[in-house]
Symmetry: C2
Subunit: 409 residues, 2 copies
Amino acid sequence: MIRKTYDNYREILLYTIAAAFIGMIVGMIDTVFGRVLLQISEIRDNHVMKLVPFLPVAGIAIMLLYRKYSKESLKGMTLVFEAGHGERERIPKMLIPLVMVSTWITHLFGGSAGREGVAVQIGAAVTHTVGRHMKLYKNPRTLVVIGMAAGFAGLFQTPLAATFFAMEVLVAGSLLYEALLPALAASFAASYTSHFLGLEKFSIAVTDTLDPSAASVGKLIVLGIAFGITGGIFAHLLGSSKKFFAKIFSDPVKRIFVMGCGLAIVLLVLHVGRYCGLGTNLIHAGFSGEKIYAYDWILKSALTILTLSAGFQGGEVTPLFSIGSSLGIVLAHLLGMPPVLIASLGYAAVFGSATNTLLAPILIGAEVFGPDNIISFVVVCSIAYVFNGDKTIYGSQKKFNYFESIQDN
Amino acid sequence: MIRKTYDNYREILLYTIAAAFIGMIVGMIDTVFGRVLLQISEIRDNHVMKLVPFLPVAGIAIMLLYRKYSKESLKGMTLVFEAGHGERERIPKMLIPLVMVSTWITHLFGGSAGREGVAVQIGAAVTHTVGRHMKLYKNPRTLVVIGMAAGFAGLFQTPLAATFFAMEVLVAGSLLYEALLPALAASFAASYTSHFLGLEKFSIAVTDTLDPSAASVGKLIVLGIAFGITGGIFAHLLGSSKKFFAKIFSDPVKRIFVMGCGLAIVLLVLHVGRYCGLGTNLIHAGFSGEKIYAYDWILKSALTILTLSAGFQGGEVTPLFSIGSSLGIVLAHLLGMPPVLIASLGYAAVFGSATNTLLAPILIGAEVFGPDNIISFVVVCSIAYVFNGDKTIYGSQKKFNYFESIQDN
């Protein structure tokens, strides 16, 4: 027995060391992707009127790229989930350059989208490919978790949130503990690497705290419900909208062009590009006390859903952060609570409820805003998790309930 | 669909409110149990030489009590797990007074044992009974989780750790999310109630922090492995020892008497009662810089295992806290690290690895020692969790791996 335990421990350590190396590679690619993206976003912000009108043309370019090099890669995150569920042998390598370039194009011309989708796809594709070549892992699904964690961690530099996000997102209700140590190692390696290479981390030390009165608890419950419903509705509408527009325009090139025309107009008309890109402008405005309109979170939600339904690339997470923090500012004023703290709770909880994850948003709270308010994060994110109507932005996420699975009595 | 979602939300809220009431009841019983236990422990500390020699006789009294009123209740925690797995309809009500009184007796006469076993059994028994009468829950297993959470929370006043402990302990590798909100409500209610009624909470604001250097990370890995192996060995030896002595002495009365004789002698010979009771003396000594012997954690482990194998009552968690913090002090000196911080990591991580839980010890870290070092807690507890050799002190804990369960390819 001791022999077996020893072998088991040795294996875990080997995997963990290998994962750290893979994490470094992923961190490097994340850095290239992330730094160029920030540059591009700045260029767009400075030339909104010149660039956004070309959004529909940019859309056509994206679709032609995918069509030429790897049509399959258009499935994006779904490929990652399928590999994670063991339903797919390989993730096409061509996915990596395609998703990077098409996301840059999306952001340069003002689409409202995220970036973590790219990072997670890069991480999963690299790890799945490298790991299979090394024949290192008995279970290729563990590789996907490690890769997702590394990709997320390299981009956001939140290694703990990244690890638990990857462990819980594939199957809601189940944590893939087997991957825990390698995923942690990959995440820390990716995070240190991208930090070392100069990718900036978004973090704010929230100094407000809540007194533990019954009134505060009551307000936290209201916030949790509001954030949960918001994330749930976002996920629900994103799914319906994707289906709806896919039915209306069966040709993806036509879809992205027509919707791109509409989006370009709306994005320019509404505060000249305020809702273009990642939404970091809204996050920044919220946390620095600048103007947040009461409808910012609604418009950012709608435009992100439409951008992604059109076929533009990127992801949802950074827009979700901005939606949550903008809504938090509004609710803080309504409830008479400290705006920065509530914005930070919204930032985490809307992300959690839209992705149907619980531990990841709590750890985002600790890693982005400092650990002082961890108890408020646990309370709000738990309630949001329960009140998201069991929706998720990831169509291929599986759901699992242990007790239903053993329904023998 | 909206109708269904609304009904679902209403149900969750109703359950949550009911759980809060049950939590208050459990908090009250916890207070009575906990305050009397602390009184008894003080009396014993002041009269060690007069009380400990009667440990074997006290043991006989415990066994006769169980034999007279409810022999089945001797199974203790196993009953709770069986109810949690849906393998048992009822938890005997007689369990509550029996386990309280026999734990008081164990501690009065110097047995080395815990107290959370009692609290968790009280919580589960009360909730299971009340809930079934109210016909409130479709799934009686949810009731057990709520009850365990309330019991743990009322005793230690760590509502978040209690909630996740109850959600993850029944089935390693699976979280019963359904119970999340009611368990949180019950835990907060139990915790506030026992606090209001004057049960003291153990907490220490740890002010040390670690610099994020590679050396620190390396040391944290060593600590995680050490704490994990310690908890795993504790769990393994407890199981083997229980079986071994049950085979040697098939009559429980004889077993508790003979082992009680040996224990009384050893407990007095070794530093006159230093290893009697909960082990809070060791915790206190460790955190206040008083003397901790390098062998304290070994002797406390051995004597707790023997006390519980003999048939005395209480539980394992507080001794595990003391074992972990004492070992932490020793390792801190060896590795040149801040003793109080490392003691706090050991406090949490040895508890986690022996109970095969991950989120509970991390939250114990945040709730008992303040949230500043949450990242160190996540790292050390994760490693400890992986390196516990998959052992657990709960013989009836089930293990579950989602990907093995769907082994279709």
